[in-house]
């Protein structure tokens, strides 16, 4: 039977087709990948060798800390750059001959690992094992003990700056106490305090004082309460009433102590009313809701906002503005200062808040401290000026002596 289309063996057509088929079979293995995939596969197993181990493993006490940390270092495996062979390093720890346990993994390229250890003055041994698809390569062992250090030598430059500033402060306090007159420039907001309290007295309205919404651990709150001491003395002398809602209970306690003492020193202890200083709530906007309501109901003639403020600054200052109160604000929160500047009559900007207490009280310690801080600012200005010039000359000329001097100034202000 003849099947159409298929040449019979031995026929002329068959003799022509057979070499073609043979040629195709020879050429196919060199064809495109798809052609290869359809051909019978010959699987060759590639054996990946285990990575070479890291060498020179060492363990030392991590420097400049309070102990409880060891630094394990090693020289990278020769296979470190070969991602097919090495996947990383396992750091193993043993204590007192116990079995080694993994405490961390380091990536390829890394040659150190900081390990937190439970005990100081106890020896811990380490091994570093390189690992990859082909197996592992184990290093030798090294051990060390963690020790407590009294000094963090990386922070010497900060210490030097602190010595300069604090030394200047102590020196100037001693000068002030010895009777040396200390000058402070005018602070407009504080010059207006007498006028502001006098206005409240004339109008028969209370003075509102808000010392921010932070606790006593915030230096701005402390500054606000220090200024309160001077202002409340004036309030006592003028026989005006003081209203002070507080968002922290400790601030309330301290404010009561401060105001009580001021009334005492003004010779008006009978006029002191503890109820005027009270706690509201720690919740920021709950506190603001209360103070806003208080403002529109009691209509204080004068509002002081001196302390640390956040989003409530504009709400308070706008409400105070709407009732026509004379407003004096002060804070060191850079994001809130614009709102106080926009809505208040006087604003103590940043450090003016801290200087204001010295300005009002004329206390020797505070004046000396302020003078000492000014010395620190002077050192900063000179350093910036000299540093800027040196950086410019160094960039333009590259002279080694300028580079050396510039490096010294940069080290001093590195904050290390």
């Amino acid at each position: 039977m003849k099947i159409s289309g298929i040449p019979r063996a031995g026929s002329r057509a068959a003799r022509l087709v057979a070499p073609l088929i043979a040629l195709t079979c020879i050429v196919l293995p060199f064809g495109p990948a798809s052609a290869q995939e359809t051909s019978p596969e010959v699987v060759t197993e590639v054996v990946v060798p285990p990575p070479a181990p890291p060498t020179s493993v060492a363990a030392i006490d991590a420097p400049n800390d309070a102990g409880h940390a060891l630094l394990v270092t090693w020289q990278a495996s020769p296979d470190d750059a070969n991602a097919d062979v090495l996947a990383g390093y396992r750091v193993l720890r043993s204590q007192g001959g116990s079995p080694f346990e993994e405490v961390g993994v380091a990536a390829p390229g890394q040659d150190s690992f900081r390990d937190r250890v439970p005990e100081n003055a106890v020896r811990y041994d380490y091994k570093v094992v390189s690992f990859g698809p082909g197996g592992v390569g184990e290093s030798g062992t090294a051990g060390a003990e963690a020790r407590f250090q009294w000094f963090d030598k990386t922070r010497v430059s900060s210490f030097v700056i602190m010595l300069i500033v604090c030394g200047a402060i102590v020196f100037n306090i001693l000068r002030a106490q010895a009777g040396q007159k200390m000058y402070i420039r005018k602070i407009a907001g504080m010059d207006a305090v007498t006028e502001a309290v006098g206005r409240a007295t004339e109008m028969g309205q209370p003075v509102l004082y808000v010392a921010g919404i932070q606790d006593m651990d915030n230096v701005q709150t402390v500054a606000g309460l220090t200024i309160l001491g001077s202002i409340s003395k004036l309030i006592a002398e003028y026989e005006t009433s003081l209203v002070m809602p507080c968002s922290r209970s400790l601030v309330m306690s301290t404010a009561r102590e401060t105001v009580k003492e001021s009334y005492l020193s003004a010779g008006r202890p009978d006029a002191y009313r503890e109820d005027g200083i009270y706690y509201v709530t720690d919740e920021q906007f709950g506190f603001v809701a209360h103070v806003d309501g208080l403002m529109v109901r009691k209509k204080p003639a004068t509002c002081f906002y001196l302390g640390a403020f956040f989003a409530e600054s504009l709400i308070l200052a706008e409400t105070g503005n709407s009732i026509g109160a004379i407003q004096v604000a002060g804070t060191a929160m850079p994001t809130q200062l614009p709102f106080f500047v926009a809505a208040c009559d006087y604003t103590l900007i940043g450090e003016e808040l801290f200087a204001a207490s010295a300005y009002l009280s004329q206390d020797e310690k505070m004046l000396g401290s302020l003078k000492g801080q000014d010395f620190g600012k002077g050192v900063a200005m000179v350093s910036i000026f000299v540093g800027g010039i040196l950086t410019t000359i160094e960039g333009l000329t590259g002279w080694p002596v300028i580079t050396m001097l510039n490096d010294k100034i940069h080290w001093l202000w590195s904050g290390g």
Binding site: S158, I161, R185, S253, R297, P338, A342, M381, T391
Partner: protein
Amino acid sequence: MDWSTVQLWVGALLTLMIFSFLYKDNPFYKFAEHLFVGVSAAYWMVQGFWQQIVPNLLAKLAPGSFENIIEAARGQQPELVYIIPLILGLILLTRLIPSIAWFSRWSMAFIIGYTAGSNLPRYLVSDFIKQVEKTLALPLVATHADNWLQWIMYSVSNLVVFGGVICGLVYFYFSKEHTGAFGRASRAGIWVLMVAFGASFGYTVMARISLLIGRLEFLGSWIRSFT
């Protein structure tokens, strides 16, 4: 009516009560204000007890008694050093007894003294040293630029920063009279500050507007719940 609907209604009505203050003080605002103050004061008291006093004091002194409440206290030994903050805390409460109220000043002195001391190195580095470090690294004129225009732009930028910082520092220099050249530098410093405040003002107002939009969207979702 499910619980989420009740929450939505309470939230929306209280929001409207607070917003009514924009018109004038009224009984609805007073109600919302007193509710807010009362609830938040109670909430913070409970938070203070369970988040601070229990885990940081009581569970340290008597871990066995609190191991069912504080996971970290399980299997721990009492740490008697915590008797010191306990005593300081109790001393603070002597304010409630007028005859020995003065005693509470010791705790207050400790809190203020400790925080002032511990904050000094931190703020000195972050607010002073680091600021100076970044400024003195600036060359007064650009030392590298691709072309003249870029050189001029970089140089002007550096000079503005440099001059702005120096003048700003002069403004905050209190122990010298601000007259003559010093006074002019001081006035330039306050201008620099005001420009910075203007930028900050605009940025913060934008953030507040987005908060307002968020609240209005909440009211919108409340109104949509009617349908």
